[in-house]
């Protein structure tokens, strides 16, 4: 009975804290400007099913794709086991599904155990790729300190959880074969049954191991749940809405700024009456100038570095890293949210995404080639943020590099980016 009460308190606290933190992230995302992504729902569901659920963009890197698939499927399927654990915890039962499912239960446990081994293997391989093989993709100026440890913590936690799960089953299975107490025969345990020889023979020790692993496993999962909102691992949740709200237009298409359209129409036609009010600012200086989708992108990023590894600017040693653009955006909007919580909604810290986080050198190095957006397995769009920040620099500050200002002048005066007279535009026909 005490166990059930303790369990209920732990579960309720975990759920409360998790929803509070998710609420904060939601609030932070909604600090962004509005953008309409409610069109074409059928196409959006399809995109989500293909890209998030079906992992369609992972295949470009086959080793990572297979290992990631193990963890992904493992995570989804083992959640059924977590449900049983939660119900057992609440009702003080033991393997509540075993009686109801009968022979099927063996199949479930069997598949959980095999998946647990696959998850373990994948986590070990991933740790090795990061720390022993030191894959270039996982390094970079933005991948020091917290982001570096975060990745390792996630993998280590998952290894611990899977180990506890298998050890729990092993002790349980041994108790079942001894027909001890309520440990009734609950089916086959294809992996953990191999571990029983490593366990002590005393039933009291076995019960202690089983109970300890049970508590460690479920409390670990609840703790991990609460770790998510502070971690890049949050992608397991946001990948779904983020792909649903993907840009559906061709990658080359940049949306037109409606506020500018109004001003340009008014310039070309004096009788034009603008329909929408002018925005406070053209382009983005701070994270709150970006759209909510940009901010959702930022919280969805799992820092895998596929974008940066294909970025032509980054490949050739320039400062730009699309992954850093996303991480900076997330860090900045999180900071703004924290400031609001601590000092009220009107607090200004005199910092901004531009210059305090992202430098102009990074922004001007982009070739807008869309390699980053193509590479992202969850359809994040760093390019859109880069362009919005360029818009701020150009339209609010008139601070483009001098050579680009020359180009603007040429387009405006001669109708071409170079200093050629428009009268000579058709000379090619006479050559």
């Amino acid at each position: 009975m005490i166990g059930q009460i303790v369990f209920l308190i732990v579960l309720a606290t975990a759920i409360y804290l998790f929803s509070r933190n998710v609420g904060r992230i939601r609030r932070n995302i909604l600090l962004g400007k509005d953008t309409d992504r409610s069109d074409r729902p059928a196409e959006r569901w399809k995109t989500m099913a293909r890209v998030a659920l079906g992992q369609s963009k992972m295949g470009k890197r086959p080793v990572a794709a297979v290992m990631h698939l193990f963890i992904y499927v493992g995570f989804v399927i083992i959640n059924i086991e977590v449900l049983e654990i939660v119900l057992d915890g609440l009702f003080g039962t033991h393997r509540i599904f075993s009686r109801a499912l009968g022979g099927l239960y063996s199949l479930f446990i069997g598949s959980f155990e095999i998946l647990a081994v696959l998850v373990l293997t994948a986590c070990v391989v991933f740790l090795a790729r990061r720390n022993l093989l030191k894959l270039k993709r996982f390094s970079g100026m933005e991948m020091k300190e917290w982001p570096k440890s975060d990745a390792n913590y996630i993998l280590i936690i998952e290894i611990c959880l899977m180990t506890a799960f298998l050890l729990m089953n092993a002790a349980d299975y041994k108790l079942q074969t001894l027909q001890y107490n309520h440990y009734i025969k609950a089916g086959s345990f294809p992996v953990s049954s191999l571990l029983t020889s490593f366990l002590a023979g005393q039933t009291s020790t076995l019960v202690a191991i089983e109970r300890a692993c049970w508590w460690f496993h479920i409390v670990g999962i609840l703790a991990f749940l609460n770790y998510l909102p502070y971690s890049k691992h949050f992608h397991i949740l946001l990948a779904f809405p983020n792909t649903y709200y993907s840009k559906l237009e061709p990658k080359g298409e940049f949306s037109n700024m409606a506020s500018v359209t109004n001003e340009v129409k008014a310039m070309l036609d004096p009788s034009f009456v603008p329909t929408a009010e002018a925005p406070g600012r053209f382009g983005a200086k701070d994270a709150t100038d970006l759209t909510w989708k940009n901010l959702m992108d930022a919280y969805t990023c799992t820092e895998c570095g596929r974008c940066t590894s294909v970025c032509p600017a980054n490949i050739t040693g320039k400062l730009l890293s699309p992954r850093k653009i996303m991480m900076d955006t997330r860090d900045r909007i999180t900071e703004i949210g924290k400031n609001m919580d601590q000092h009220g909604n009107d607090h200004h810290d005199n910092k901004a995404l531009l210059d305090d986080y992202i430098t102009r050198e990074e922004l001007w190095a982009c070739t807008t080639c869309n390699a980053c957006t193509e590479a992202c397995p969850v359809n994040i769009d760093p390019l859109n943020i880069i362009v919005q920040m360029r818009q701020y620099i150009v339209m609010e500050e008139s601070a483009a590099p001098a050579s680009l200002n020359n180009m603007f002048g040429n387009v405006e005066n001669n109708g071409a980016p170079w200093k050629y007279s428009n009268a000579d535009r058709f000379n090619w026909a006479d050559k």
Partner: protein, 273 residues
């Protein structure tokens, strides 16, 4: 490779019709050829422009150009963040195009192609827009264009460099390759091709500024990939890629061994147009 240079000196021996002229005669062409700024002013790209005209003339498509009335689509301004300038250009161009009642456009540049096709509709400009590689593909599919009577590319190692705004930007991967497939050449792909293609370094208005500090220029990174697969010809479909790749090849002192040719030039040469 000398034979590759023969047709370079051959100029069109036909009039290139302008919209103004056609309108004056009360005629409406089937398609407008949007030349673009590079195609109009850049000497290397002018050759490609003339070759596109030769192809249009060869298959007797009724077409016209805007001549001195054409102006920048606004693409470099938009990518650089100058939305005002972009929309000014766009709206003036839309006025001009609608004034001539244009319905269909073929462009000689992936940037013009992307901008008119994707970004003009929202500003009121709705046209059927294709890139010249797509036109060539259509003509091949219809049997109107072959590779005969001109230079032989038989057995030559040819690779195609995907322009970002044609490939990833608009998922046009097959059309330019189709123009090469009829050559009976040895087609080779670079490691980074199609959706994984590496940018030449010119997009996003980079063409008009110095690159940021780094350890290599992007076009050199790309050209080294071409050198690595021993290609004799890099086929391109974008005037900016053309400049970047040609500069890179020259810089590596490989301009005798490796030619950079546009899809339109290759087609024109293969047919001795």
């Amino acid at each position: 490779m000398d034979e590759l240079n023969k047709s370079e000196i051959k100029n069109p021996n036909f009039e290139i019709p302008t919209m103004a002229q056609m309108a004056a005669e009360g005629k409406q062409p089937e398609i407008l050829f949007w030349v673009g700024c590079a195609g109009s002013f850049d000497e290397r790209a002018q050759k490609i422009t003339r070759d596109i005209c030769k192809i249009l003339h060869h298959v007797s498509i009724s077409y016209a150009v805007l001549g001195t009335e054409e102006a920048c689509t606004g693409d470099p301004a938009k990518r650089a963040g100058n939305e005002f300038l972009f929309q000014m250009q766009a709206m003036m161009n839309i006025q001009l195009l609608d004034g001539y009642n244009i319905k269909k456009i073929v462009t000689g540049c992936p940037h013009c192609f992307n901008t008119i096709k994707n970004e003009y509709p929202n500003l009121g400009g709705n046209y059927e827009v294709i890139h010249h590689s797509q036109l060539i593909q259509q003509l091949i599919d219809e049997g109107k264009l072959k590779a005969e009577g001109g230079e032989s590319f038989k057995g030559k190692r040819i690779t195609y460099h995907d322009a970002c705004y044609l490939g990833r930007g608009n998922e046009v991967y097959e059309a330019p390759r189709k123009a090469l497939e009829i050559l009976d050449a040895e087609l080779v792909e670079m490691k980074r091709c199609r959706s994984n293609g590496l940018c030449c370094g010119a997009g996003g208005a980079q063409m008009f500024k110095e690159p940021e500090p780094g350890n290599k220029d992007i076009n050199m990174e790309r050209v080294d990939e071409v050198v690595a697969i021993n290609a004799q010809v890099i086929a391109s479909a974008c005037p900016f890629c053309m400049t970047m790749l040609s500069d890179g090849i020259k810089h590596r002192d490989k301009d005798q061994e490796i030619k950079v040719l546009d899809i339109a030039e290759i087609t024109a040469r293969a047919n001795r147009l």
